[in-house]
Amino acid sequence: MRDLRIVLLIIASLVSPSAGAHVFIRWTEPSIPPAKALGVQNLVITWTAPDNPLFQAAKRQGYRVYAEVTPAQAAAAARASKSEGLAGIIVAAPGPVSERTGAGSPDELIKSLRAEFPSLDVRLLEPGGKQPQMRGGIVVGKNGVLGVSSPTQQPWIDSNVALVRFANVYHPGETPLVDFTWNLIDPTEQRYGPPAVDYEIAIAEAASFHADLILPIHKNLQKDLAQRNPQAWKTWDGILRYIRFYQPIAVNRTVHLLSNVGFTTNDYDASYEAANLMARHNIPFDVMMPGALAAKRLKDMALVVIFGPLDTAATGTVKNFAANGGTAVLVGQPEKYPWSSLQPASKNEDTAIYLTGKGKIVEIAEPITDPEAFAKDVWRLLSTHQRQLILWNALTTLAAAYQAGGSSVRLNLVNYSGNPLRVQARVKGAYSAVSYETPERGSWASLKPVEQDGFTEFIIPKFRVGTLVRLGEVGSR
């Protein structure tokens, strides 16, 4: 009996009934338009107490209703789920993603709830999500508007890409679920809500980097939708077009990220910004648990970034990795390693570079205080042939390439500026057929690929927020 329970628990923890849901709509206002009119199924309502009339109202309007709960509320909400008509609960736990495993953790809570309530969809909400956006430098504060001069800055991008990559490894088998609160400067937007493009960027980001999203609908937009305001419904139609466009990739996430850069850390907080900036510079990295630093995992990698000390086995793995041509970047590790006795090929105040065999080991002694410079260094450490994806005229664009069926590749791009761009891309591999689609186009269009030195280059003539590109052989899909 106990064995059966364990098997059920494992199955329940791996199978999520909402797989492919992609976008959940967060609703807070008392009036709710019908699900058929809104065109979405999953509505998230905060759990305040049992008998919340909003749950029943949403259910009557045809939604699958999810209650957003704290860990302390989770058991009560799950027990009341039948009477409340809930399709699922979403557990929002505080604390960094790295602290959510182990006994008594939210992960354990999720597993036990899934085992006890197998028909209830139980999801974990990743903490720390932020509104995906291109940001400027003007600060509007209580003392007024403050400008800060600097050399010309690349647009700063707030993204959730690193958060999703970490969540993938800390919660394997789960599609990360992220949310955010609006971070609006303009008073009119604060009062009436952000423009549709801000919603579209959030939808495109989540789908492109393989996360599910709780989309917060501004309260005024909720009210106007419920009151059948035509302007609100026009805005919603634009948002819905993005939800529908990205739905197919939300239900087909069996593809895996094309990456030849590894990232492992024993200190989530100390390394997060480095990973965030690597994501911002389109360095496609795979996060690995520290214990997973094995030769097999590093086999196809060109570079690995390691935060935290190496044990004996990992030291050997890193040494062999570098000897075979890899580049290992060790951050903040005061330990002496076998290569430390070698004469460094170069050394400065913070960094020593050791050439070992065909590769190299870069030791950065101090914690990373300038993650932007660090990310750019990682990029420079990759040779031109090791850079699997290069974008030009794309300072506001983040992208991820995924290996799809056979030899085909899917490339998802998100333009956080929302201003139309013409982007040039170079992807590793030879592909004779390249096509792209955007929510605005609504159909695939062929692009002209140019193959050179094992890479394929092409130009996406125009996209505003999101585009999907597929690369393959002529005749493939």
Binding site: V140, P187, T351
Partner: protein
């Protein structure tokens, strides 16, 4: 390893500062904030107006003008007027739009003033060094010499009212050091023409212009780039502009990383730890002058500033040494340490 970013996203948790209702309540004016990606950076405008609609329309019109100037002055877009000029103007005059004529005309003022230290014709050298700046091999001395022959502002002939000719077979123009400033000035013209009397325009942090003053203030407070964190310079903009130049961010692993600004005289990247900020009446002036004064350094640069009306500049080293030169505008130092560099 130094903490370098002031404006970088991870150092300013913007949301924590957001209390705009407090500001709006201090006046009958409300502010409108918008941003637009153009010329490889983020343009932002904050405008106060009794009418939100008026401010919104004015900002939209200003952004449209900036985007149009980007299409005109981009050297990444083969269809731009600048690209056409760079392709066709060798020993043959080419008609250009008035804005392009004017910005090139303005750039030549700073080339003459700096005796060629500042030169928008440096594009062939910039392109040759691009790969090396990203970690590749530097161009050979022979190649640099050859390209120096292409470069020279004196080889650009302006034929009023709207024609330009290059007296070199390989000269090309790169307006990256001045186009943003020019675009800010155009935005200022448009905002003023629509009766906006209080606005701050920010072009990627490197060039800002303050129209009038925000409600209840003497002007727009701008904290200037300070690589030392000790000098804490500030300017209060009121119908004037400030621009900042500095070498691109350092590398953690390559102490000899090349700077991104090329000295047209030597043909090589300039290495300087100084950040320089310049205050003047127009953004075109501050944008052009900040690059000029960065290339000239504090000694020669201070002399140039003394020859120009209504200009102030400050050079700050990572060790906190600061040097100020001014013929009018005030640069406030909140914690001055160290003397002349």
């Amino acid at each position: 390893m130094r903490w370098r970013r002031i404006v970088g996203g991870w150092t300013i948790p913007l949301a924590l500062f957001l209390l705009p209702a407090t500001i709006a309540a201090s006046s009958s004016s409300q502010f409108v904030y918008k941003k637009q990606y153009s010329m490889g950076t983020v343009y932002e405008i904050v405008a106060y107006s009794p009418s939100v609609n008026r401010a919104t329309h004015a900002i939209d019109a200003a952004f449209q003008a900036i985007v149009a100037l980007d299409h005109m002055m981009s050297n990444y877009d083969a269809q731009s007027d600048l690209s056409r000029l760079d392709r066709e103007a060798h020993f043959h005059s080419v008609r250009v739009p008035p804005d392009l004529f004017r910005v090139i005309q303005d750039s030549l003022v700073y080339s003459r003033a700096s005796e060629g230290k500042y030169d928008v014709t440096v594009a062939p050298l910039v392109d040759a060094w691009k790969s090396a700046i990203r970690g590749g091999e530097p161009p050979s001395a022979a190649k640099i010499n050859e390209l120096r022959g292409c470069v020279g502002y004196r080889k650009v002939q302006l034929i009023p009212a709207d024609r330009i000719e290059f007296h070199s077979p390989c000269l090309r123009i790169d307006l990256g050091s001045i186009a943003k400033g020019y675009a800010v000035d155009r935005a200022v013209e448009i905002l003023r023409s629509q009766n906006i009397q209080s606005a701050l325009i920010n072009a990627g942090g490197s060039t800002l212009y303050g129209i009038g003053a925000p409600p209840g203030s003497a002007g727009w407070s701008i904290h200037l780039r300070d690589p030392s964190g000790r000098v804490k310079p500030e300017v209060i903009l009121r119908d004037d502009s400030v621009s900042t130049s500095e070498q691109e961010e350092e590398s953690l692993i390559d102490a000899d990383k090349l700077g991104h600004l090329i000295d047209p005289v030597t043909g090589e990247p300039v290495r300087s730890d100084f950040a320089v900020s310049v205050v003047a009446k127009t953004a075109t002036a501050t944008d052009g002058l900040s690059t000029t004064l960065f290339l000239m350094g504090p000694n020669d640069g201070s002399q140039l500033v003394r020859e120009l009306p209504d200009v102030a500049a400050i050079w700050i080293s990572p060790m906190g040494k600061a040097r100020v030169a001014s013929t009018g505008p005030k640069i406030l130092l909140h914690q001055s340490q160290g003397g002349d560099p």
